[in-house]
């Protein structure tokens, strides 16, 4: 994505040539990413694609092997100290013997300009169990307490690593409602998720990571189109899923009896080869792929290579 100078300089997040190695593992392998203030960006990718590492480096929790990171033109540590950044970490823990109010109160007390604990708790929807200990809360409730601590500094940038992971359907709905209310005030949000529906519903922009690199970057619609992913469904009697997966252009095979669904990067080529190899194929249907198929196509290209 082409960015103008002003956007880069005033960017909420700017990652340039970011590389992070752990021993011999290239967790992040050259990520460039600029996020303008006010954008709501979803970071997608399979496990091990480098999402959490990117977020750790972005927040100054680990130092990059090479590359530059700035948040609002400052170093991550400066931005965090100034209370510009709120984060909900996957691996950040809360203390079980503290109450919700004490925990949120602590975070609210350490920031220079902060929301009151009561306000942070209200916005995150945890006020009704403020007096309870963290240890007595459900996984989803704990996630919302983390959200409250992330809101405590009234940050301009909110970074969320798999925020809804332990939540039930209702909790998830309430969480995103709160997140939306926050984003609607012109604040920037970057969230990592593996729920594609969340990216589709809540993000302005999707950044897809694969093997530590940006595989795709654009709006949900753009990415769906760019992947040109299609799904062929058909009945192919007497042919195994393993055989079908060798058809060129097919990246994934789902089968139930004779009925199969082939996720394709090149559906035209796959269809020609399918019919040439297995003339008995019938009930053939080709449909456009949603973000999910695009995700699959884009993230498995590397594996096919």
């Amino acid at each position: 994505m082409q960015q103008t100078d002003t956007v880069v300089r005033g960017a909420a997040v700017s990652l340039q040539g970011l590389v992070k190695h752990y021993g011999g593992v290239r967790a992040v392998d050259g990520v460039d990413l600029t996020i303008a203030p006010g954008e709501v960006v979803a970071l997608l990718g399979p496990n091990g694609a480098g999402k959490s590492t990117t977020i750790d480096v972005l927040l100054g929790l680990s130092t990059p092997t090479s590359g530059a990171v700035t948040l609002f033109g400052r170093s991550p540590r400066e931005a965090v100290s100034a209370g510009l950044v709120g984060a909900m970490l996957q691996s950040g823990g809360l203390l079980e013997d503290a109450t919700v109010a004490e925990t949120v109160g602590l975070f609210s007390a350490v920031y220079p300009k902060s929301l009151s604990a009561a306000e942070a708790m209200r916005r995150a929807g945890v006020a009704e169990f403020a007096k309870r200990r963290i240890g007595s809360l459900s996984g989803g409730q704990r996630q919302r307490v983390r959200f409250a601590t992330a809101l405590a500094s009234d940050p301009d940038l909110l970074v969320l690593d798999e925020p809804t992971v332990a939540m039930d359907v209702e909790g998830r709905r309430e969480f995103w409602a709160a997140m939306r209310a926050y984003a609607s005030t012109g604040r920037t949000v970057l969230f990592a998720t593996h729920y594609l529906a969340e990216a589709e519903d809540y993000a302005d922009r999707v950044v897809l990571l694969r093997s530590g690199r940006v595989a795709a970057d654009g709006s949900v619609a753009e990415i769906g189109a760019r992947a040109a992913g299609r799904v062929i469904s058909a009945r192919v009697p007497g042919v195994s899923a393993a055989e079908l997966s060798t058809v060129a252009g097919v990246v994934d095979v789902q089968s139930r009896g004779d009925a199969v669904e082939l996720s394709c990067v090149d559906s035209d080529g796959a269809l020609r080869e399918l019919l040439a190899r297995y003339p008995q194929a019938m009930d053939i249907e080709v449909r456009g792929a949603g973000l999910e198929a695009a995700f699959l196509a884009l993230t498995s290209e590397g594996a096919a290579r």
């Binding site: 750790d56 927040l59 929790l61 100290s81 823990g93 503290a98 004490e102 602590l106 350490v110 500094s153």
Partner: protein, 239 residues
């Protein structure tokens, strides 16, 4: 920093098991020892009282510091790094928390000494005694924090128990150092616990703390303090 200190103190104050074992145990110890040996000579009860008060304070300080191991394990420190709380603020707050918890442990043994074991001192001596013993716990508080920074949640209890026992026994808090074999008596003089009890007895006698003691205490505080800082930095870099 004050916010974190209050947050930690509140959590500790709510844990009855923690209070029972760190504060209650030395009192029970004192009552047993005092009833066995307390009548063995003039000032024997006061002598025992100082040792047991020091033991209570040491145990409270080490146990409080080592709680950091569990906090690190659940990822609490990562969460705190997402705040403007500076490194010195965090470390000082943790040491202060240990000091605050050590104070009631100390006072309780003194109260039991005064009201049930017939230890009678003038107000000035009591004040000096409390002050000297309390400040003398500082290197131990740093040691407790070091254990918290080194141990995992599982090993923290064992490590602090070993540290507490070794420090108390070799430091002469349970039995006089003179009763230990010769080479152990030499080791004792290198421990902060030995000097902690010595300072207490100096306060009883109205004499000034020995220079060797002050130097030893300061050296312990310096070395453990540096190790804590090094370890905290490494922890942060690895996270």
């Amino acid at each position: 920093m004050t916010a974190l200190l209050l947050f930690d103190i509140r959590r500790i104050a709510r844990s009855p098991r923690f209070a029972l074992f760190t504060v209650g145990f030395p009192v029970v110890f004192f009552l047993i020892f005092s009833n066995v040996y307390g009548r063995s000579g003039p000032g024997a009860a006061a002598y025992l009282m100082v040792g047991m008060a020091a033991f209570g304070a040491v145990s409270a300080a080490i146990n409080t510091g080592s709680r950091v191991a569990v906090e690190r394990q659940v990822g609490w420190n990562r969460q705190l790094r997402m705040t403007p709380l500076p490194t010195p603020g965090y470390l000082v707050s943790k040491v202060l928390a240990s000091m605050v918890v050590a104070l009631p442990a100390l006072l309780l043994v003194f109260l039991v000494g005064a009201f049930t074991q017939g230890v009678s001192l003038d107000a000035g001596t009591w004040l000096r005694l409390v002050l000297v013993c309390w400040l003398g716990v500082l290197p131990i508080a740093a040691l407790g924090l070091l254990i918290g920074m080194l141990a995992t949640g599982d090993s923290a209890q064992a490590m602090s128990a070993v540290a507490m026992m070794t420090m108390s026994l070799l430091g002469g808090l349970w039995v006089p150092v003179d009763l230990l074999p010769g080479f152990l008596a030499a080791v004792a003089r290198a421990l902060p616990t030995y000097w902690l009890a010595e300072f207490g007895r100096d306060a009883l006698a109205g004499t000034a703390p020995a220079a060797q003691g002050l130097v030893t205490m300061f050296a312990w505080l310096l070395v453990t303090g540096v190790l804590v800082i090094v370890r905290y930095r490494r922890d942060a870099a690895r996270a």
